[in-house]
Amino acid sequence: MRVRKDGSRFLANVVIDALKDDGGQLIGFAKITRDVSERVQAARELERLNRELQKRATELEASNKELESFAYSVSHDLRAPLRHVAGYSELLQKQASSSLDDKSRRYVQTILESAKRMGDLIDDLLAFSRLGRAEVKMRAVNLQQVVQEVIAEVSRDTGDRDIAWKIGALPACHGDSSMLKLVVVNLVSNAVKFTRIRTRAAIEIGCADKNNDELEVFVRDNGAGFDMQYANKLFGVFQRLHLAEQFEGTGIGLATVQRIIHRHGGQVRAEGAVDQGATFYFSLPKAHELAERTASTS
């Protein structure tokens, strides 16, 4: 602690050095006094900010956990009454169908359909909430193989539709294989669904380097597309850009894709235009190191 000319005190860093002549004789001392108040102040500020950040992170983690368990218990506890609505409506339909007029029969039918729809929404919400809590098991994943498997599975339900698949080279990447498969399933089945309006659907899956550490995979289709002004809504939970009569679905697919990719440290984005198809991109960390390690041991 030193005193300034005006009498105020300041924190100082003082260096004292002995001054010697060429022959090594001590001729005096040099003293440098540095006012380090600002530096100390800055260090303290940094420390304070760090503590603040730590606190925020802890709070965020806690509220995240709370939100997850809230979503879970809502979904879970909603299932029981819903099962009863569906169950009893069905019993009513079976028991009283012949004594009901057309209008009443339609009412019962609507109750059943709505209960089913709510069941689907709850199940999706439940799966989505589980996804947020599941551990991401990172290892090398053969994307090419994942895509092939998914196309084989999805193709079973496409009947005699004419779909031109174009699969580019997909490198190994680093991630949780079952979660990444879910990403591909969602994107590919979306592409299949939204190209239903085409006599000949074209779906392309490929990959490009985003930068040194990341790769970016895309799924492109020539389907219904979307208006870019709603692009930010695409990845929200239960957000839909089409009517249920046009394209079925609850609107959880792309939210699932985003959540998985975010948990892998990647990003999602989409490009499209109404009636001109859509392209969905997701980025992932590259797996070169992991791939090399696996290759040398196998």
Binding site: Y72, H76, D77, R79, A80, L82, R83, H84, A86, G87, Y88, E90, L91, A115, K116, G119, I122, D123, L126, R130
Partner: protein, 151 residues
């Protein structure tokens, strides 16, 4: 099918009880069904005590057990049953709304014989209950000591 085993249902929700019975009835599974409405009552039944002190001391062929129950919960019932020399041989099927991994893990840890999540869809629920009833009370040979009723 010469014999039918007794089914013990442990379920607090009256609607679920009715739907379960309807599902069993739809497939003419005319098994004897005993219903207990919470974990404590289920344990009293199994250990032949309290209101059940006078019942013949025999085991059901299968127990369908809900997890979320008043007083004593399903996991506690399961744990006590599997810790008892006479009761541990009863096949226990957890029939629950819970997909929770920790519920599944703990159930299997305690020695549950099957874990079934109640489907929301009534058709699937009926099918699940029917298959459980058929498998455990008809197809499966229950442990000796469970009284079989000739039909």
């Amino acid at each position: 099918m010469s014999t039918l085993g007794r089914i013990l249902i442990v379920e607090d929700d009256p609607n679920d009880v009715e739907l379960t019975l309807t599902a069993l009835g739809e497939y003419n599974l005319a098994n004897e069904v005993v219903i207990t409405r919470d974990g404590q009552q289920a344990l009293d039944y199994l250990f032949c005590r309290g209101e059940f002190h006078a019942r013949p001391n025999d085991n059901p062929a299968v127990m369908l057990l809900d997890l979320k129950l008043p007083r004593v919960d399903g996991l506690e019932v399961l744990q006590q049953v599997k810790a008892d020399a006479r009761l541990r041989i009863i096949p226990v099927v957890v029939l629950t709304s819970s997909h929770e991994e920790k519920d599944k893990m703990r159930s299997y840890d305690f020695g549950v014989n099957a874990y079934v999540v109640k489907p929301v869809n009534f058709h699937e629920f009926v099918n699940a209950v029917k298959e459980l009833g058929v498998f455990w009370a008809v197809i499966n040979e229950p442990p000796p000591g469970s009284v079989k009723k000739p039909t």
